[in-house]
């Protein structure tokens, strides 16, 4: 199974993850572990490949968001400092 574990930043996606967790647990799609500042979503516990296309799409999207968020953080801070530091 591809991408058996997804790690997602916890800080800004709590509600997304809670929604995802509820959706996932209800469908038995994955196991979610608390890693401190991250959630890990373990897809390997599944007996069958995920059939829920919507869930797969959202997992993929959440994962990308977390990855981008890490890259955006510094630039966002710089822009905000530039915008409001001038006042």
């Amino acid at each position: 199974m591809p991408n058996s574990i997804l790690k997602l930043s916890k800080n800004v996606y709590n509600l997304d993850i809670i929604r995802l967790a509820i959706l996932s647990f209800k469908s038995g799609a994955c196991k979610i572990n608390d890693l401190g500042n991250q959630w890990s979503i373990d897809l390997s516990v599944m007996k069958e490949p995920i059939q829920n296309d919507e869930l797969l799409r959202r997992l993929d999207e959440f994962s990308l968001r977390a990855s981008l968020e890490e890259r955006f953080a510094t630039e966002r801070d710089s822009i905000i400092a530039l915008a409001f530091g001038q006042k």
């Binding site: 999207e61 990308l64 981008l68 409001f84």
Partner: protein, 479 residues
């Protein structure tokens, strides 16, 4: 390979990603928005290439994204322009409260089932603002650092305390001789108590009128009751009289209840018959009597379905040659196409409550918004800031309550909002969230959020697929 796999391959030699939020659309394409509100639509291939640094300068998507500051080729210009756009959008956070709502009296001559102000009904003895409190309120208002001040008289029905209104208008004008601010006055009235003398004064002082019209007589009178006769008929009579004497159009506000929810097309037709150029389709406020009477409301889905149907109807009217706007969509369009503050305090990041608006109750108590006062009227006074006779304007504006509202309404700190591509055009109302959830917390998943996201998705879909005529109509609304 998933889009995450693409994103992990970092080859930033050609361009750098600027911060953006995104969501995938039902057709597989992607919607992106930047910090300063620039937006773009990408097909899946372009999006995957974007996040894996695979776009090349000869691609149309590259050119579009660079022009919209969603990628940069390394110059500082994109960062500077994004910062400048962000500052323009948030300039209101530095200017001080601009809108000052004054509750002149809690008494009313009309009994509305959905009254969110919890007013006293006709015949009941209602508290009214004294001249001493009015004077202290005027001085507090004029102490605001904002160069533009709007004083909005509310109630109850404020015209029942006409002499107090006259006093405040004249006293504020006197104080402004020295202050030199740009001042405007708004009277929120049901028009039912207006007489020739009042109308003459309204015309003389250029006072704006904001009033309510819920549709033709059968719909308007459904929830708006006067002791005898039709509230609608009396309203129409006084509206004609007022507008003939002042030569200015009053602003009409529609409140949507379950009574007119499925009749919005008929309501729109009535507004056109009344020679209006637009309508503000407002969902019911979850305060006061509106909360007590469960028969007034509807679900978010019921509202958005009816609202979007009404919007399609309005666009059809515009396509047939008559200009007619919906004002909430107009507001969103302005936020999509402009970086400037629109002054609408109910939907902002950070929240306008306390920062852009203050409310003064009849007894001088100050609240961060109308909704906070409405909560106090039904017993929850936790959001009371203080009193104009006991605190200076500076003390009021630096209240810990206002700081708390500010801290709970910054989008990058609100789960859901921080990753929402519609956040640059949206806002949050922590007080409404408090009224819905019972908690004063950073929580984005409210009915308001669901409603705004649905509407913004609809609007961006329209923008994306607009033919020339529709583009012309939508851009025309922003003028």
């Amino acid at each position: 390979m998933t889009i995450q796999d693409y994103a992990t391959s970092d080859n930033s030699s050609l361009y750098k990603l600027m911060p953006f939020a995104f969501e995938s659309l039902p057709d597989g394409d992607f919607f992106l928005s930047g910090l300063a509100g620039d937006h773009a639509f990408l097909n899946k291939k372009d999006f995957n290439d974007l996040v894996s640094y695979g776009l090349t300068p000869d691609r149309k998507a590259f050119i579009e994204l660079e022009s919209k500051k969603l990628i940069t080729t390394g110059s500082k210009a994109a960062r500077m322009m994004t910062a400048s756009g962000l500052l323009s959008r948030k300039a209101f956070t530095f200017s001080g409260p601009r809108l000052h709502i004054v509750v002149i009296t809690r008494g009313c001559n009309c009994h509305c089932d959905y009254c969110h102000a919890s007013s006293f009904s006709p015949g009941e003895v209602a508290p009214q603002m004294t001249i001493e409190v009015a004077a202290a309120t005027a001085r507090t208002i004029m102490s605001s650092p904002s160069r533009e001040i709007t004083v909005e008289f509310q109630g109850g029905e404020p015209s029942l305390a006409w002499e107090t209104i006259r006093f405040m208008v004249d006293y504020i004008r006197l104080l402004n001789v020295k202050a030199g601010k740009s001042i405007s006055f708004v009277l929120c009235t049901n028009l039912l108590f207006l007489n020739q003398g009042m109308i003459k004064y309204i015309a003389k002082r250029g006072i704006e009128i904001s009033t309510s019209l819920d549709g033709p007589a059968d719909l308007h009178d459904l929830h708006r009751h006067i002791p005898s006769g039709s509230a609608h008929d009396l309203f129409m009579e006084n509206l004609k009289l007022l507008e003939s004497k002042t030569s200015k159009k009053a602003s009409l506000l529609l409140t949507v209840t379950c009574g007119n929810l499925r009749e919005l097309r008929r309501v729109i037709d009535h507004y056109i018959e009344c020679d209006r150029y637009g309508i503000f389709i407002r969902a019911l406020n979850p305060f006061g009597r509106a909360v007590i009477d469960k028969n007034l409301g509807y679900t978010v889905e019921e509202f958005t379905d009816a609202y979007i149907d009404a919007l399609e109807y309005i666009l059809g009217i515009n396509r047939s040659g008559r200009e007619f706007r919906e004002f909430m969509i107009t507001l969103f369009l302005k936020r999509i196409y402009s970086s400037f503050d629109d002054g609408f305090v109910d939907l902002k990041f950070p929240a306008g409550a306390g920062l852009s608006v203050l409310l003064y109750d009849f007894n001088g108590d100050v609240y961060p918004s109308d909704e906070a006062r409405m909560m106090a009227a039904v017993g929850d006074t936790r959001l009371k800031i203080g009193n104009v006779q006991l605190m200076s304007g500076e003390e009021i504006r630096s209240s810990p309550i206002i700081k708390q509202i500010l801290a709970t309404s910054i989008p990058s700190l609100i789960p859901g909002c921080t990753s929402c591509p519609y956040a640059p055009y949206c806002g949050v109302d922590p007080i409404k969230i408090y009224s819905e959830t019972g908690e004063f917390t950073q929580f984005a998943e409210t009915g308001e959020c669901q409603k705004n996201r649905t509407i913004l998705r609809w609007l961006f879909n329209k923008i994306r697929n607009a033919d020339d005529q529709l583009k012309h109509i939508l851009l025309g609304w922003t003028a």
